[in-house]
């Protein structure tokens, strides 16, 4: 690995530092909504990091990853509802529930390949969605509110937005580090080799399924933690968290950011949520010179631009944002 300073490294360094300093900026500039927005971005980035492990590095096209956000979130919310406020009980429970669901879904789904795998993971996530919709005690379709965030004795006050932001950020950085170590370990090499050429892996003697299952469970558990975080963040959970289109959003983040890269998921989450926030305004601004009356309304239809954008990214910028950065960086070195 070269030690040269490339545009890509600068961007990523700026990103990491920027995220760390964000609360400071938000309070100084008097824009508290930024703190809320970025907390959400960070939590979803963590979910995307976990998906990248199986989708990017493992080549497993799971279309049901949002289910773990729901499982983690609902575990916390249900425990809180039933009087268990301690995060030291809620969060491990959320991890355990996610791990168990991942184990079962993974064991069944990994019997299939290709498109079947995509569809079966999708359907299992829908099962979770319907399960949640059917729980009358916990709000059914209307969802369940949390009266309090998870309590950690005197150690952490998650109701403090800044504290909560840093908890999420540290967990995000920890999960990136974990993925880094995992993907370079023997386990990670098996996973990556299986993605590259599964027949060969079997031929040289690896029982690939058990490694894929392990990765699947790790990813699901990590996403379950993200779910616990998001339940705390929004202080509300609902079945909609697990609807299959949310799984699609996660996939978009991973691919948009750059598959199989450490920071791609973060870049992707940032990009997608930024687009969600600012594309309406951009569209309104673009329409205003032509049709000032409807400019504001036009912005509401921002997904009409996002949709084709995704298609274009798929067709022409497959490496995602990280890929573009690498392209820029290599041009720099050789240009």
């Amino acid at each position: 690995m070269s030690v040269a300073v490339t545009p890509r490294k600068v961007v990523i360094a700026a990103l990491l530092v920027g995220l760390a300093l964000l609360p400071l900026y938000a309070s100084l500039s008097g824009t508290p909504f930024l703190l809320t927005l970025f907390t959400r971005i960070i939590i979803l980035a963590m979910a995307a990091v976990s998906l990248n492990l199986i989708l990017g590095y493992g080549g497993m096209m799971s279309f049901g990853h949002a289910a773990y956000l729901g499982i983690g979130g609902y575990t916390v919310a249900i425990l809180a509802f039933e009087g268990v406020q301690s995060g030291l009980v809620q969060w491990p429970a959320a991890l355990a529930a996610s791990a168990l669901f991942a184990l079962i879904v993974g064991a069944l789904s990994l019997r299939t390949r290709g498109v079947y795998f995509i569809m079966i993971t999708l359907a299992f996530a829908q099962m979770a969605y319907y399960l949640a919709s059917g729980m009358a005690r916990y709000g059914s379709d209307d969802g369940l509110s949390l009266d309090n965030r998870s309590e950690f004795g005197g150690l952490l006050n998650l109701s403090n937005k800044t504290t909560f932001y840093y908890v999420c950020l540290i967990l995000l950085y920890a999960s990136i580090y974990l993925v880094w170590r995992l993907t370079n370990s023997r386990f990670g090499m098996v996973l990556r080799g299986t993605r590259s050429n599964e027949t060969r892996m079997l031929a040289i003697g690896f029982p690939t399924t058990r490694y894929k299952l392990a990765a699947f469970v790790i990813a699901g558990t990590m996403c379950g933690l993200a779910g616990a975080l998001i339940a705390n963040h929004t202080e509300f959970v609902s079945p909609a968290m697990m609807y299959w289109t949310r799984s699609g959003d996660l996939i978009v983040m991973v691919v948009l950011g750059g598959l199989r890269t450490l920071f791609g998921p973060v870049l992707g989450a940032l990009a997608l949520l930024f687009l969600e926030q600012f594309l309406p305004a951009i569209i309104s601004a673009a329409v205003r010179p032509f049709n000032p009356v409807n400019a504001a309304k036009a912005g509401e239809y921002w997904q009409i631009v996002l949709g084709p954008m995704l298609l274009l990214v798929v067709l022409f910028a497959r490496g995602g944002i990280d890929g573009l950065l690498r392209l820029l960086s290599s041009r720099e070195r050789h240009g």
Partner: protein, 305 residues
Amino acid sequence: MTLFVEQCLNGLQFGLLLFLLAAGLTLVFGIMDLVNLAHGSLYMLGAYFAATFAAWTGSFVLGAVLALGATLVVGMAVEVVAMRRLYGRDHLDHVLGTFGLILFFDEAVRLIWGPGGLSLPLPSWLSQPVHILPGIEYSAYRLAIMAVTLTVAGFLYVLVMRTRVGMLIRAGASNREMVAALGVNIKLLYTLVFGLGAALAGLAGLMQAPILTVQIGMGENILILAFVITVIGGIGSIRGAFVAALLVGFIDTLGRAFFPQLLHAFLGGPAASTAAPALSSMLIYILMAVVLVAKPEGLFPAGAK
């Protein structure tokens, strides 16, 4: 008893409708190896077009026919503009690209027709009940749906098993070079197949429209069922789609109608009431899990896939 017969018929009707949707999906996958998430959007468009054209022309049937034509045109346009570039690529690319199309269509529909739903009223001659058995009446419209879908199923059977085009369809995506070598215009074939899939989806949508409301997002809800059916039946297999669709139609309809009572009989009271709604919706997924454990390629896996 009448309730049971009625629910059975509903299950049959629902299953046949699902077959239309799943057949389109599995055809496109089997021949072009394309995962098309936007299939549900075509279903939605069929419903929206039908509601609009029926209102304009004042005739349900004319509106339906026009809607079918419009969906076919949109489908072929989508194929030429977008799908063509996705053939041969990784399935992940298909998923993402067509996911983008879903977003586009949902917003486009919202832009053109507004966020509220539409309704498609039935003409009087279709909303009468019909005496099918002594003491049993059933909706004429639902019977009409069954008649139409069975006719289409028959047509598909003839198309796939008896025509040259059908032979090419059965030859499958893996024999693309061979098919081209036979002097067939692959591009045109694919456009037509995709158009056929779109028409099937549109037909399912417009027929379902009077029964459910026409709204944005209706495609996403039913797409999942189409996927489950395709998986259970075996990707690329029309026969598999037919069997699986009927299976799913029956289990889902009868399950929702009678499963809660069944649960009450075994579990009693509060436990059953809590579990019933969730479990009823989950029945088809449980079916899918069972099938996949026993036969990971589906019940009737098609050809070389």
